[in-house]
Symmetry: C2
Amino acid sequence: MTKLPKEVTDARKPGYDINPLILGRWSPRAMTGEALSEQELMPLFEAARWAPSSYNNQPWRFVYARRDTPAWKKLFALMGEFNQGWTKEAGALAVVLSKRTFEHNGKPSRTHAFDTGSAWENLALEASSRGLVAHGMEGFDYDRARKDLGVPEDYEIMCMVAIGKRAPASKLPQELQGKEMPSDRKPLKEIVMEGTFRK
Amino acid sequence: MTKLPKEVTDARKPGYDINPLILGRWSPRAMTGEALSEQELMPLFEAARWAPSSYNNQPWRFVYARRDTPAWKKLFALMGEFNQGWTKEAGALAVVLSKRTFEHNGKPSRTHAFDTGSAWENLALEASSRGLVAHGMEGFDYDRARKDLGVPEDYEIMCMVAIGKRAPASKLPQELQGKEMPSDRKPLKEIVMEGTFRK
């Protein structure tokens, strides 16, 4: 098992021992500005591919752009000023889509977004285990993404992801440097209940 | 890194080397019928807890029942005959819920189900790494679950999960024994697109 870095063990105190890959994944923003090659990027989507889904429908789709390619400008332009301020150093961007219907019968899937979330987590974990940043965002123009990327109505746009090689926090705009650390979580007892829902 | 069992390497041929924890997770059905202790069950929810979410809102909630407890009957009764046929040997059941709104401002979250899916994948991966089954299902009565578990409208019911100790396929009803193997996936090129959506 990987030994976790101090930045993680300082910030996160799990109540039970869990896989360090899971505890060690977080969402840094500082990246080096280097482009990612196809060989560096594709394993992340490969990891996403093996997620579970209802009827093995695999609703997840990924539209990506690598830095310094024609597609980059199009994806970069979807984000607001705040996210552009740090994703300008990303090595790749991706828009995560989710098919609303089952392929075997065309009926609506009630779990498609949930299923696509599990694929996204695989992507994020694979990135983390390779020392890469994978930071999800909803701070972008969803309507423009649908138009500019040509996404049909049958696919829901879930989030964007900035992917890149990690850099020190000093590479970030000043106001983001203090946020460059793993976040904590609610206590387990607030999210787990025996037998009956309670707030 | 864990060496993957033959059942996985026979069925799954990844195009890129990825973390064996991710490739090795699948959804068996055969379980021993032994109850899970709190100590065995809680690490799975602990893993779920560390998933990423928009604004770190952590919309995931889990209502669980361990075998041979008063809550078990209530959760078990939610499923249809098909799923009861194999989950009767589970050690625990859980219903996964997702809060539709942000806690910091009460507004609807567009990514809550997606975020909760990432927590579910952490749960499934942690189970797999411990040699436990965690099998997600949508074959249950969602309306009855809302009523019987007292789930408020602000929480969406996502799926149920059967959790337990693995058993040989021979422990399953005859008609399910042939399905007890890791499933394959679409080719990577069908789910990943550069710059523009295409089917």
